[in-house]
Symmetry: C2
Subunit: 446 residues, 2 copies
């Protein structure tokens, strides 16, 4: 293996089993050792890696921080992992055009810390933001709690430099605000999960960092009331930056884990409004009225310290759940917001029918739910798998999509045709046109 990549210094080609272990998994149960790991530091090295892999019939799996919840960066059989974490330079912050160019290994929160000094902000805000890389975010079209206001990573990608399977380097897009010139290849690469090419540079449009924010928690004595309140807030065009939901299982787990008092609510909603001035207070109060009218007990926060305290509950959700079961299967469906109440009822019915424990939280404002299956035995796992397949069918019946922000990877690959039908064949044809030998991340998505 080292011979194939002799253009790299020895310490950047890993072949020892203990080194490879760290690259064998992501945040899903999937696991496989790669043949080797290469750690490029430049575009030139990435081109050489692709050419070497192509010459020797090896496949390549791109990897950032490995926080994927879909199995996308888990090594495929006999592959080489391309670890991008050493390509972590912020290349240029262009304040006049509200644009930044980065290498793919830059970490999300580090980028935002650097941008904050200039009053700028890249908003998608994934849960893994403190460690995940921009390359991974672009490959997966990641987002998080702020997508309800700001959209997903794809909405911010201004330009991409991509190494194709041929070794050729494409430069797509630019720092201009709009274009009607040629096919939108850039959007095609965003969310392609490493199957079409390797990113060596990413350009992002940025937004001004909002100056003011206010937050709200609303607790409900019934899950139905919460679901209807969320749908009303969305229908009333509430200008929320965040609108999160937690069901009673999550609330109880958080209370047990953090010692916070959440009034043992049957459902908890957390919201945030942000902007530049007085409209922030007006909007959070309007939102509070909607939620009170729907039967919630509401608490508002205007100071940063109070807001941070409200957020402790939401941030504790995943670690708290991880304590009440051996394994978590974190799902990621999205439905039209009007279908949220129905979807939530169906999740309840599925849990009963299959005898599984499901704790649900998620980005309710944009219809993105994370029903989380709590697994402590092989039997429970088997029942959960059956329930998950039914969950996907129900979500699609309601006009939803299999993934809001985690991608397809290997986890949802068996279901891709359920959602996309004949379009999967078109995806395969595009893959074949761009990567005829199939060297990039085979076995993912479809």
């Amino acid at each position: 293996m080292r011979d194939l990549f002799s253009f790299l210094p020895e310490e950047r080609v890993l072949v020892d089993r203990e080194d490879l272990l760290l690259y064998s998994y992501d945040a899903t149960p999937a696991k496989r050792y790669p043949l080797a790991v290469v750690r490029p530091k430049s575009k030139g090295e990435v081109v050489e890696i692709v050419k070497a892999a192509s010459r020797h019939g090896l496949s390549l799996v791109a990897r950032g921080a490995g926080t994927s919840l879909s199995g996308a960066p888990v090594p495929c059989e006999g592959c080489v992992v391309v670890d991008f974490t050493l390509m972590d330079r912020i290349i240029e912050v262009d304040e006049a055009n509200a644009f930044v160019a980065v290498e793919p290994g830059v970490v999300y929160e580090e980028l935002n810390r650097a941008l904050a000094k200039r009053g700028l902000f890249f908003p998608p805000d994934p849960g893994s933001g403190s460690v995940c890389t921009l390359g991974g975010m672009v490959a997966m079209n990641s987002s998080g709690i702020r997508a309800v206001k700001y959209g997903t990573t794809r909405d911010y990608v201004a330009s991409l430099e991509v190494v194709l399977a041929s070794g050729e380097v494409l430069r797509l897009g630019g720092r201009y605000k709009k274009s009607a010139s040629g096919y939108d290849l850039k959007s095609l690469f965003v969310g392609s999960e490493g199957t079409l090419g390797l990113f060596t540079e990413i350009g992002l449009h940025l937004v001004p960092k909002p100056g003011r924010r206010a937050a709200m928690t609303a607790s409900f004595d019934s899950f139905e009331k919460a679901a209807r309140a969320i749908a009303s807030a969305v229908a009333a065009r509430a200008d929320v930056a965040v609108l999160e939901f937690m069901d009673s299982s999550v609330v109880k787990a958080v209370e047990g884990f953090s010692g916070m008092r959440l009034g043992s609510a049957e459902a908890l909603v957390l919201a945030e409004v942000e902007g530049s001035g007085g409209e922030v207070e007006g909007e959070i109060r309007r939102l509070a009225e909607i939620f009170r009218g729907a039967g919630a007990e509401v608490e508002l926060a205007f100071e940063e310290a109070e807001i941070a305290e409200l957020w402790r509950a939401r941030k504790a959700a995943l670690p708290a759940l991880a304590r009440v079961a051996e394994t978590l299967l974190l799902e990621d469906i999205t439905v039209p917001v009007s279908a949220l109440p129905q979807m939530m009822r169906r999740i309840g019915r599925l849990a009963e029918k299959h005898g599984v424990r499901i704790a649900t939280f998620g980005h309710a404002g944009d219809g993105n739910l994370h029903p989380t299956f709590l697994i402590s035995s092989e039997e429970e796992l088997a029942r959960a798998r059956a329930a998950i397949e039914e969950l996907f069918r129900e979500c699609l019946t309601l006009g939803g999509t299999l993934s809001g922000e985690h991608g397809i990877g290997v986890e949802k690959r068996p279901y891709i045709e359920l959602e996309h039908g004949a379009a999967v064949q078109v995806m395969r044809e595009i893959k074949r046109a761009l990567d005829p030998e199939g060297i990039f991340n085979p076995g993912k998505i479809f």
Copy 2:
């Protein structure tokens, strides 16, 4: 011809020369008669048309209102035009999800009139909005004066139903707010200028119709000052819905045409701020300060009647220019906003160097300029063609793109490789994968 399309009633297959004349051109000088025009009323008929064309080796050119400024819907040699104007139903307005489904022949302003009753709004606002169709807008990724705040058509396309060259029907996307599931085929079809498939249904995300607006005109005694003022406003993150520029040639033409008094300004800027409440007045006053500080005479308008009066000048720009020359060549370059002053200076130099008249207006807030060549003789046309090629090179040197909102069509096809380089080959490969016989709009884009 009628035999091939015998599944359509006779009056919806046009073959007489006087009927075909109406389908032989768009808003560019290009012109060619098609073999026939077919006018489907349903998805089923569109599928039959594609199958018939494929069987008989005919190519198909989709057409909405024919307002294109790039030649995209101008018939290619020996083609059949598919006129979508009879497929003009608004299929469903889904208020709860802020979503609308339409057939491709629906007219932009008619859609917004229907949506206004529900407090909803589809913002891209092209200049031809009173007649252009949604199918055309999606095919070209159109936009207009509001793109600076709201983005382009692509940002709003939630779902597409597309008939492929095989006759197969794809359904892409949905009315959910976000997805990380599979390749983004939807964005690939948006802006593909009728070369990849025919749209039979379009789903759009909508936004709340803003309740309040305020407008500003700023007149300058020098073009340089105006250019710098615009760059300052953008750098100050002014939250403008509209930020338009007109140079002295446009100002003079408008004064002559409309009788308006614009103080014979050397440059005129028009801006609009919109929102839900008090922040609107604050923001327009902040903008006015920036422009006064840059040496402008500023006028503000808060009442609808006053705002409409300010807008008369901008709306008169194109008809006014059409009166001072026999032919207009309307260009559509976009540069990063920081490069606007430089781009404007270079346009002035090009006019001098080539001895051509160029009047420039455009959507300065997003860097999209329409340098308009005023042509009254063959010699002037030849000089303009030379200047335009140089204009494109200068725009690309400044990090720009060949088209902000009009597309490539036939007009800019010779220059597509200048902008996209090796990516054009990837576009061609995708075209070949989806439309191997090349039946859809051959000879456009590349």
